[in-house]
Symmetry: C2
Subunit: 99 residues, 2 copies
């Protein structure tokens, strides 16, 4: 299992619109093969900053299965115009969990 | 509920020692009032980078209850010498989850 962490910086004044667009876009990522779960978190210290945390079965499920898919074009159209700068994305492996 | 996200950059060659120290330190944070759960994630793209994700009942449980506590001195002694630079820490509120 792989955790994708995308740091999203939203253009000033666009956070409400971004959240509305995300509520549509989330169905796209949730339907992608290898998607396990995801959450959208909003930063307390910076109201224009969000984290998208996605659990994938493998990195390939994210980088190839999702990003090279037809539905990803709709995801991009819904979300990418909100970002400035473009998001940084990294992948993580679980070392320890308390639960 | 609040998610603390600490981005940890570990000194070159120290990641095994850091993980061993964390396996001791985790008992300290787990015992802190208001701690709900935590996980340590290791970056795939940067072997010296980790994310510590902690669910707290409130920000105060983290910033006051944990950081101003006596056991935090032991946490610091176990972990802080591994970091370079010193970690960035932010707090997040859940906007949406698929589970």
């Amino acid at each position: 299992m792989i955790l994708e962490v995308a740091t999203l910086q939203i253009k000033e004044g666009q956070s409400t619109n971004f959240e509305a667009a995300f509520s549509l876009a989330k169905e796209i990522i949730a339907a992608s093969p290898g998607h396990i779960s995801h959450e959208l978190q909003k930063c307390v210290e910076d109201k224009n900053k969000y984290l998208l945390l996605v659990q994938w079965e493998t990195i390939e499920a994210h980088e190839i299965g999702f990003r090279k898919s037809e539905p990803y074009l709709k995801w991009k159209a819904l979300l990418h115009h909100f970002y400035d700068p473009f998001p940084t994305v990294e992948h993580f492996e679980l070392i320890h969990t308390s639960v």
